[in-house]
Symmetry: C2
Subunit: 360 residues, 2 copies
């Protein structure tokens, strides 16, 4: 099994709820897509070319500040459960988790380099995806860390760059800055007041897009949304981040308004809802992941509204990550099959909540 | 407001779960229908005749053993909420609770005399309905107490009796013995294994009938059923009680079997179900009566199966009675309107469960 202790903070520092607006925004993530000039994009590259990309990045990474204390995982060498674990931890994309070839055939060259809040995925859709993840709503902090890494690696690697189009990428929608910034945001107030669809429509009109907890194509569960910029071309990195920042601040303000409306107009219903969620999490013996997410959403709303005292956002964030199938399987050191995982999920939730038992 | 402390044990001794098979059978109740010879049945009686019945019963009751320490309530003099309170406590029928005439018009003559486990309703459908209620499955004990009262009152009052038909009653379905015995029984196992309809059909084939928590016409909630004899004529009291006793013992055996099947075939599902019910009762802020009954049913099953430790059947019985609207209104000394009563119900449940907090 993968040794996650090799990664500084297990790659989970962003969980600690220390960032700005952490009661609404769980995390901020930015990634930069980069490719090496003169090498075909990953999907068209041969084995030797993918190997070359990996070696070149590896070499540059070792010489960067991040490389000093980081970890490196070759995806081909990981068990499926371990790849899933990295994905559940938001450290690699679904694509990279799946981008392996049969053992012994030489290898996909897919790898991830991790050093605390920054990392680099190699031979994903693009040769290189640099990423940075921070607790709460922290676009400047996330970008500062990422910009340093990009500058260091860019000084050592020949990034494909066009004077007119900017950074070249495998998919044209990523060209230009190659930047996608996204915030993971919890919007139960807007969902309960039924204003969410209006807000989401508004987002698409100003060039943003939304997805579920696990990126493109994933369903929205537990009222958790990922908001991100749609376009990467024609604007500078600062303009893109400024724009996203402004819109997210507005969405946070809408969410806070919606929560106050709920408290004012339906206090008993809301109190009942959040405590029911707490009661079920505290005592049930079996949960699907979706149900656990929905109940955690209720409890998180209760903590945000100060209706449930003595429970930290950090605990709720931990539950979000550690109740996922690969994490539960790793915890129990066994394969994940459905009924057992559901019971293990309930046991884990109960243990964490008991440790922080809130008064009734 | 009515002073229920006037009634020995508040008329609630049957709640204490001290009787036989109390984990399945909540209570045993028997009533005897009696009428005074030469006086028209209540529905056809004039005010003076009803008054005469009341006075005659009153006089006889005072001279009986029960009359020494009992209480007497004239229904016309009670507030609607107080009549409802007596009904919720299973001390008077829905009919008697409603059998009032406008104040000042002289009166319905409807009354109830209560002395611990026995009582007498006056000017209900019949002039007199003697009743006895006991904890658990206790037909002999219930009948012994009732027989004493019947003999004492019968020696003082001219009960209408026909040498061929037996005791005469307003409705012919009660003639003969005038006896109806019923047990309040909790059958969640048979409901969950979906065998309940087969069992209920079987009951009607052997001359028994079933109803919900509150007698004729009331819906079944929380898997609580009242099983009772259908016929009162053509058999002796002992035969009727023997027959009911045998069948109920059989139903209890089926229920116990069903519970063992559930534990064997679906332990996680059952554990999850009972603990979810407990979690909701322990933390929710609002309940309808039906929901509370259904959750209490789940918790009662959990206590019966020893899945939930440290919670007494007595507490569950108390919740069954005290979460009803008139009881909650009496507790809060205010009128019962819906949202407030739902919140008061949740508060009461939480308080009682907190006092007996079970470990998770």
């Amino acid at each position: 099994m993968i040794d996650l202790t090799l990664i500084p903070d297990g790659g989970l520092a962003w969980l600690d709820a220390s960032g700005p607006l952490a009661h609404v925004v769980l995390s901020t993530r930015i990634r930069l897509a980069r490719n090496l000039a003169g090498v075909p994009f990953t999907v068209r590259a041969r084995e030797g070319e993918r190997r070359h990309v990996l070696d070149a990045v590896d070499d540059a990474w070792q010489r960067s500040a991040a490389g000093k204390g980081g970890a490196r995982f070759l995806l081909d060498q990981l068990e499926p459960g371990d790849r899933q674990l990295l994905h559940e931890r938001h450290l690699i994309s679904k694509e990279l988790a799946g981008a392996v070839v049969e053992r012994g055939s030489g290898g996909s060259g897919a790898a991830v380099f991790l050093a605390g809040s920054v990392g680099a995925m190699v031979n994903e859709e693009d040769h290189l995806r640099l990423q940075s993840i921070q607790s709460g709503f922290a676009l400047p902090q996330a970008y500062a860390a990422l910009e340093r890494l990009d500058a260091e690696l860019g000084a050592l690697l020949p990034f494909a760059f066009h004077h007119e189009f900017g950074y070249l990428t495998a998919c044209p929608t990523n060209a230009g800055t190659g930047l996608r910034a996204s915030v993971l945001i919890h919007l139960p107030g807007l969902v309960l007041t039924k204003e969410i669809s209006k807000v989401l429509q508004g987002l698409t009109q100003v060039g943003l897009t939304f997805r579920g907890l696990y990126g493109e194509g994933s369903e929205v569960v537990g009222n958790f949304f990922q908001l991100s910029n749609q376009t990467t071309l024609g604007k500078s990195e600062d303009e893109l981040l400024d724009h996203l920042g402004k819109i997210v601040r507005q969405v946070v303000a809408y969410e806070e308004q919606a929560r106050q409306v709920l408290l004012r107009d339906a206090p008993t219903i809301i109190e009942d809802k959040v405590w029911r969620a707490y009661g079920l999490l505290r005592y049930a013996r079996s949960f699907s992941f979706d149900e656990a997410m929905n109940l955690l959403s209720g409890v998180r709303l209760g903590v945000g509204l100060k209706l449930i005292p003595g429970l930290s956002v950090y605990t709720l964030n931990k539950l979000l990550i550690f109740t996922q199938p690969a994490h539960l399987a790793a915890l129990a050191a066994r394969a994940s099959n459905d009924p057992e995982v559901r019971a293990a999920r309930a046991t884990y939730v109960r243990r964490l909540l008991d440790e922080e038992a809130a008064p009734a």
